[in-house]
């Protein structure tokens, strides 16, 4: 079966290997940051960085780990899995075009960042100005991913025509959701780049800061679900498969995915709750929608836990001992379960960020940093890596060389992230700002003592997380060189016992996409009407 997907597999091998390389680079940046921002850390001089290097690293850390890795890894993973689930090829020409565009974009953006001329951070808020290649590269990377999405959608529509009345298998169902959300997310990004950021960077055109920021978060929040959804897919697909049971509720899983399609996008204003110039009513409307998007996460938590319970009991567990009966010794299962637990905590803290008043307390503090390292960072460094371990055998034909180290990796991360994020949560509630180099060196008044030990403890957590990331990179490349054993099978079982359930309403993508568009319009038309009817206030671009 593997032989017939040569083009897809080559695509996947390239993008997934590249993702692991980016993890190495972005991880080194992260380590440099966390130790340099901790107050009174006595660092040897070769580890101390200048402000320019610090903010360049910070930009690279965000862009490589949170934008580039998800795009490359998710397209690669989809190119591997979707053809095997549907039994259909992706169009080779589109794959090649997409790979070319994504790499060209990534290299342009990386050059703009690493040259030190684009230290505008991952949010690139106008009127701070980066090198034009930064925006061009980002746009090209995104457009390349659209070409991949087109190949995937075409493949699915073909499958659907040939399989009328059959339910979409859950793995493809989740990946389709991922790419639908991705298109919802990136349209506003492309508008922002073309309308505001490129003219600003190329010709020094004036730009309205609030308008650009609103387009950014219109993109920035659904981006979060793009990172997350492949992992939700893997929870629904791999956890029952590895436990030898079915999902507790196939329907509820699909209801959750549909809720993600509907509610992921019209929530970006919860990043702008303390912005001047946006009506409190529109802010509150999107707070409400944000809390609605917590629902599919709650559905997932319930469904996956119930599946784990069924699986644990099938393996001989009792009322509570089913927890012990999980395959905790399997690196792939351990990675997915750790992601599930950590994401659960991170998701709850996200509800606090989105609270209309609580945001006043935590906005732009290290609380936020604690939050998104429990969500996105864990998804990338543990979730994607767990799936990559199993791909080492099936996709790369190598297997895992050191399965024990691979197993230690997610647990080491768990220890690190708990220390890091909880320290940063506490520091944030005490007002410690995010995105800031060594505060005590700034010549201001002495910093609150609560910041000192929490940020130092955060650095300890960060070092443990870096060690876990280093293990992942080491295991991956050493396994490529030496080969090893298969740890879990990710490709679908050849003869599924039962077909996937068919619910026409849950297969009606057109309906749900239409609902999503209506909700996006309801959420954003008032905001943009407010902006444009008041008249924009364009300001001149400024260098970093």
């Amino acid at each position: 079966m593997t032989g017939s997907y040569g083009v897809e597999d080559r695509f996947a091998r390239i993008t997934i290997t590249f993702s692991v390389l980016l993890l190495l680079l972005g991880g080194i940046f992260g380590l440099a940051q966390v130790i340099n921002r901790a107050p009174y850390f006595e660092l040897p001089s070769f580890l101390e960085v200048s402000p320019k290097t610090y903010y360049t690293f910070l930009t690279g850390h965000g862009v490589f780990l949170a934008v580039a890795i998800p795009i490359f890894w998710i397209t690669g993973f989809t190119a591997y899995l979707a053809p095997r689930v549907l039994g259909k090829n992706l169009r080779g020409g589109l794959l090649r075009l997409s790979l070319l565009m994504m790499f060209a974009g990534a290299i342009m953006a990386a050059a703009a960042i690493l040259s030190g001329r684009s230290a505008v951070l991952y949010t690139f808020y106008a009127p701070l100005k980066a090198h034009p290649l930064f925006y061009l590269g980002a746009a090209l990377l995104v457009l390349g991913s659209w070409v991949f999405a087109a190949a995937f959608f075409l493949q699915y529509l073909e499958w659907r025509r040939e399989n009328r009345g059959r339910g979409t298998p859950i793995a493809v169902y989740g990946l389709l959701t991922t790419f639908i959300v991705w298109i919802e997310a990136t349209v506003p990004l492309v508008i922002d780049v073309l309308k505001n950021l490129l003219p600003m960077s190329l010709f020094g055109a004036k730009v309205d800061a609030l308008e650009a920021r609103t387009w950014f978060w219109f993109f920035g929040h659904p981006l979060v679900y793009f990172w997350l959804l492949p992992i939700v897919t893997l929870w629904y697909y791999m956890i029952p498969k590895m436990l030898g049971v079915r999902i507790f509720s196939e329907k509820m899983a699909r209801v959750a995915f549909i809720m993600f399609i509907i509610a992921s996008t019209p929530v970006g204003l919860h990043h702008q709750l303390v912005d001047p110039g946006v009506s409190a009513v529109y802010k509150y409307l999107q707070v409400l929608l944000t809390l609605v998007v917590a629902s599919p996460s709650l559905l997932t938590a319930f469904n996956i836990l119930a599946t784990m319970e069924m699986g644990g009991k099938a393996r001989g567990g009792g009322a509570l001992s089913w927890i012990l009966k999980q395959p905790w010794g399997n690196p792939v299962y351990a990675g997915l379960a750790v992601t599930f637990i950590v994401f659960g905590i991170g998701g709850l803290t996200g509800i606090i960020n989105a609270g209309y008043q609580l945001n006043l307390l935590v906005h732009n503090t290290t609380w936020i940093v604690g939050h998104f390292h429990m969500t996105v960072a864990t998804i990338v460094a543990v979730g994607y890596i767990a799936a990559t371990y199993s791909l080492l055998a099936e996709l790369f034909g190598k297997g895992v060389k050191w399965p024990r180290l691979a197993l230690a990796q997610p647990y080491l991360w768990l220890v690190g992230i708990l220390i890091f994020s909880f320290s940063y949560y506490i520091a944030g509630m005490e007002g410690a700002p995010r995105r800031m180099l060594n505060i005590e060196g700034a010549g201001g008044p002495p910093i609150p003592s609560e910041w000192i030990y929490t940020l130092q403890l955060g650095a300890v957590g960060g070092i443990v997380m870096s060690a876990s990331g280093a293990l992942a990179v080491l295991v991956f490349f050493y396994s490529l060189l030496r080969g090893g054993i298969a740890v879990a099978r990710i490709a679908p079982n050849p003869h599924p016992e039962e077909g996937d359930p068919y619910h026409p309403l849950l297969e009606n993508w057109r309906l749900w996409i239409a609902v999503a568009i209506v909700l996006i319009l309801v959420a954003y038309i008032p905001t943009f009407y407010e902006l444009y009817s008041r008249g924009l206030a364009p300001v001149s671009p400024v260098g970093v």
Partner: protein, 173 residues
């Protein structure tokens, strides 16, 4: 394919009751949280996002804040004075404000160039964060109950000197 399938019975298969219960529970949880956060707006008016804003050119606002700073340098700001606070790369104008405890001041805050963050941090545990945008001003009404020193730190990245952007408010008895 039409948006709605042709016949109801083709797609209508009810969810199991445990599924329905949990879906309902998750929606109820979301609604409870939404209600609480709204109710808090009315329950605690002291910690709110200001709603009064107006457009102002960054250069013009910087001028307003500079002349305000010159006028009140080193002196306590009298009751009834409109305060201008500008965030610029990489300082607060004025760098220091001397206010009287128990007096409500009107403070207008905006940026002279790029995005900044207004983070007010007191040793009594006060933490209050707002965005500062070029082109748009916030109008805040603030009152400090007790004397003390409050720091104003920029907490939105604004360029390479960001970490040094610290100001303060001294509240006198």
């Amino acid at each position: 394919m039409a948006i709605f399938p042709r016949k109801l019975e083709e797609w209508y298969k009810p969810l199991a009751s445990v599924d329905k219960t949990w879906i309902a529970a998750s929606v109820v949880i979301a609604l409870v949280m939404a209600t609480t956060t709204l109710a808090w707006s009315f329950a605690d008016p002291s910690h709110q996002v200001p709603t009064e804003t107006f457009e102002v050119a960054p250069a013009e606002f910087r001028e307003m804040a500079s002349s305000f700073a010159d006028k009140y340098r080193g002196s306590t700001i009298p009751e009834g004075t409109e305060i201008y606070l500008a965030a610029v790369q990489w300082a607060w104008i004025p760098k220091e404000l001397r206010l009287k405890a128990g007096v409500t001041y009107k403070v207008v805050i905006s940026s002279g160039d790029v995005l900044h963050g207004f983070s007010l941090i007191g040793d009594d545990g006060t933490v209050y964060n707002l965005m500062v945008m070029p082109g748009m001003a916030y109008v805040m009404y603030i009152k400090f109950d007790k004397p003390g020193v409050y720091e104003i730190r920029c907490n939105e990245f604004c360029g390479l000197g960001h970490q040094g952007m610290v100001g303060r408010i001294i509240v006198e008895g």
